[in-house]
């Protein structure tokens, strides 16, 4: 004890963390365990309903192996899984193509308008996702603005049914829905770059394109990666975008399968298994991301 001053009692700060940690254990860790318990539990022989098994020694992995071999061996889950990957990859690529120039412009050339531009880019964050989809449902209807404009300029002869199982509509919906979440980390990464590095490259005779590809782009790599991960994770679990913009099994994504089986009454074990597979896959992506962050920060320090 220092003279004249109190010291904090042992465990003072730990006590503060306790309620939150207990909460997360009870309502995050335990529920996660429940997924495994249901996925590898028993099925009621009479009704086919799920009965969770809480003891891991008694876990039965039949459904898990079935689902995994279905994904590996060309079953329905493989079709859906590959379709989901394809949609996500195209959507993320499009988000980057649109989002990078926007983030770059705001970070480098925003000037007096920077705050306004940022506010406009943040706005979609706080507009409900489903409202943003509802907005597109309005304009994409057969007699909606999109068809009327396209017919007016002569690109379409007759109204196109956009909301009728079109993969392109679903992918554009994903881009529209998630792109703000990519622009912000990109902006943060580009804004952190020391302007003097780019000026130095230009002073040493690099063209502005070369300065961009040799300095700005490599320095924003972490932002690109972080932003892509931030939008990839929720996209893999999305089921409402295809539900709202297409309603057709032709565009069904992995999340739709989980949603369907969990609410089907007898398919809870399959639904839980799919959720488990999804979390495994997403964890792999996360680990890849964390390893690459660690590697590049090691490179930066050496």
């Amino acid at each position: 004890m220092k003279p004249g001053g109190m010291r904090l009692p042992r465990g003072f700060w730990r006590l503060f963390a306790l309620p939150g940690v207990l909460w997360l254990v009870a309502f995050f860790v335990v529920p996660f365990y429940a997924i495994a318990a249901v996925a590898m539990g028993r099925l009621d022989p009479l009704f086919g309903t799920s009965a969770p098994v809480w003891n891991p020694i008694e876990w039965d992995t039949t459904i898990l192996t079935d689902v995994l071999s279905d994904i590996a061996g060309g079953g329905i889950f493989q079709t859906v899984f590959f379709r989901t990957c394809l949609y996500v990859v195209i959507a993320v690529a499009m988000c980057l193509l649109i989002g990078y120039p926007v983030a770059y412009y705001i970070a480098r050339h925003g000037g007096r308008l920077k705050v306004l531009l940022l506010l406009l880019v943040i706005a979609p964050f706080w507009i409900n996702y489903l409202m943003r989809m509802l907005a597109w449902i309005n304009v994409l209807q057969d007699d909606g603005y999109v068809n009327r404009i396209l017919m007016f300029v002569g690109l379409l002869d007759a109204p196109r049914s956009w909301l009728d199982g079109q993969p392109s509509t679903v992918v554009l919906g994903l881009v529209y829905g998630y792109i703000p979440f990519l622009i912000l980390p990109l902006y943060a990464a580009l804004d952190r770059i020391d302007q003097r590095l780019i000026e130095a490259a230009r002073d040493l005779g690099a063209s502005s394109w070369r300065a961009f590809t040799k300095v700005t782009l490599p320095l924003s790599k972490q932002g690109i990666l972080a932003g892509s991960v931030i939008i990839t994770l929720p996209m893999f679990g999305d089921y409402y975008t295809p539900d709202l913009l297409s309603q057709s099994p032709r565009t069904s994504m992995f999340g739709n399968q989980i949603d369907f089986f969990i609410h089907s009454g007898t398919g809870e074990a399959t639904g839980a298994t799919l959720a488990l597979v999804l979390s495994g896959f997403v964890s792999l992506l996360m680990i890849y991301y964390l390893v690459s962050v660690a590697r590049s920060s090691r490179e930066a320090s050496s």
Partner: protein
């Protein structure tokens, strides 16, 4: 070739892309808001201005339709309760994680980050199954939805408050302790007042993410009476072709924009300029 002579002049193409992007991202929503004021039943053909879908229509307006009114009530109830419960838990957790050194601190920090990276559908399934099979004393419906909302909100509070804690540092509370304050006094008289802007911003952010949540509310819904506005939008967007849906979505938008506006201006009061507040807000979401 103006840009060759002056490479720092504004690139016109980038400016064009940026403004087109902003138009694309906002115009459909503005059109949706416009149609909430449509006098007719169409959501795609403009038939004149009216407040029919807010207050006028005796059966279908937000004010008079029981389903819409109850959904709005459920959304607001969940958002307010979540805000009031998740914020204190999150503030305490942020204090604990920022100051606590010892076994378990690192693991707890890790645990706090997990809800932020777990796809919502996985969390929805997990909570659904745990309430159905393990915590059977909690019924699906409002109670389960509230517990779910608090769970995903806590981590956001931690991120907001911890950011502020790092900028404050430990000197102030140590000075208070050295001057003879008890730990509780140091906390109450020194640290909490300095954290006040971050705490109020957290309240608003939790309100906004709770009122906007769809997946957790949908998975933990008990019956028609626990339908929230986003759940209602999801289930009727394709089958109920009147603009009353646009009207209730617009109201939801007003509530979350209000909350976020207050949060940003509070960050501003916390000693930052307007631009800085917006920028730090932009970063905060990462």
């Amino acid at each position: 070739m103006n840009w060759l002579r002056n490479p720092w002049s504004r690139p016109r193409v980038l400016a064009l892309v940026t403004w087109l992007y902003i138009l694309w991202s906002i115009v459909p929503v503005i059109i949706a808001i416009q149609f909430s004021f449509n006098a007719g039943r169409s959501r795609s053909a403009w038939q004149g201005f009216s407040l029919r879908w807010y207050t006028g229509d005796p059966d279908l307006s937000v004010l008079h339709n029981a389903a819409l009114r109850e959904a709005m009530g459920q959304s607001l109830k969940l958002a307010v309760l979540t805000m009031l419960i998740a914020t204190p838990i999150g503030v305490a957790l942020a204090l604990g994680l920022a100051r606590w050194r010892g076994p378990g601190a690192k693991a707890s920090n890790f645990l706090m980050l997990f809800p932020l990276v777990t796809p919502e559908i996985v969390m929805g399934v997990a909570l659904f199954l745990v309430f159905v099979y393990l915590f059977k004393f909690i019924d699906l419906g409002t109670e389960a939805q509230l517990l779910g909302h608090i769970t995903f909100s806590i981590s956001y509070v931690v991120i907001v408050v911890r950011g502020r804690l790092f900028t404050i540092g430990r000197e102030f509370e140590e000075a208070a302790l050295d001057l003879g304050a008890s730990p509780v006094q140091a906390l109450r008289l020194v640290l909490l007042p300095m954290l006040a802007p971050a705490i109020f911003a957290s309240l608003m952010i939790v309100f906004a993410i709770s009122i906007d949540d769809f997946v957790i509310s949908a998975f933990l819904q008990g019956g028609a009476e626990s339908t929230t506005v986003p759940v209602l939008l999801y289930s009727t967007a394709r089958n109920a072709p009147t603009p009353n849906l646009n009207a209730i979505a617009t109201l939801l938008l007003v509530f979350s924009m209000l909350a976020i506006g207050i949060a940003i201006s509070l960050q501003r009061r916390g000693g930052r300029g307007k631009g800085e507040a917006v920028e730090s807000f932009a970063r905060l979401e990462i």
